[in-house]
């Protein structure tokens, strides 16, 4: 049972690694700033479970609260685009 738990954890972490790769490629490829920010959200969602899997829960809480803050800071600059 313990072995099965580790195996399912590894498969889920591979899925989140694929999620981070998809988000990074999509962020580089897109041209509109809003679409780039949405893809950056995929990248964040892919890389936060790696912090949780290491057991650093306090770091995960801090990073999960700080990451949207930086996205909102970037949104202050690209809000003037298509009025």
């Amino acid at each position: 049972m313990q072995e099965g738990w580790i195996a399912v954890n590894n498969i889920a972490l591979m899925a989140f690694g694929a999620l981070a790769i998809i988000g990074a490629l999509l962020t580089i490829v897109e041209r509109d700033p809003f679409r780039k920010l949405i893809s950056l959200g995929i990248l964040v969602g892919g890389s936060v479970p790696f912090i949780v899997d290491r057991g650093l829960l306090d770091v995960a809480i801090a990073v999960a609260l700080i990451a949207p803050l930086s996205t909102i800071f970037i949104l202050m600059v690209c809000g003037r685009g298509d009025q």
């Binding site: 041209r31 700033p33 780039k36 890389s47 790696f50 770091v59 801090a62 970037i74 600059v77």
Partner: protein
């Protein structure tokens, strides 16, 4: 060679190249591509189990993004 290490290296190199040569050459695209590189460095620090470095880097990264946003606003406002 953890999976975090390899993923962090890939994100760091890809984000740095994308921030150096952005496709529409604007400051905003450079700033967004710099975020990819920041997340790659965060995963790289995670693979060495540095909890205090992760906390400090997260806070300073948001602060530096705010400073860059103020600089870009100040530069693009008169133009």
């Amino acid at each position: 060679m953890n999976p975090e290490f390899i993923l962090g290296l890939v994100l760091l190199l890809g984000g740095t190249i994308a921030a150096a040569f952005p496709v529409p050459k604007t400051y905003l695209n450079r700033l967004i591509n710099l975020e990819i590189s920041a997340w790659g460095l965060l995963l790289l620090m995670l693979s060495y189990n540095e909890a205090l470095a992760l906390l400090t880097f997260g806070g300073v990264s948001a602060l530096s993004v705010y400073i860059f946003v103020r600089v870009i606003q100040k530069k693009e406002a008169p133009a």
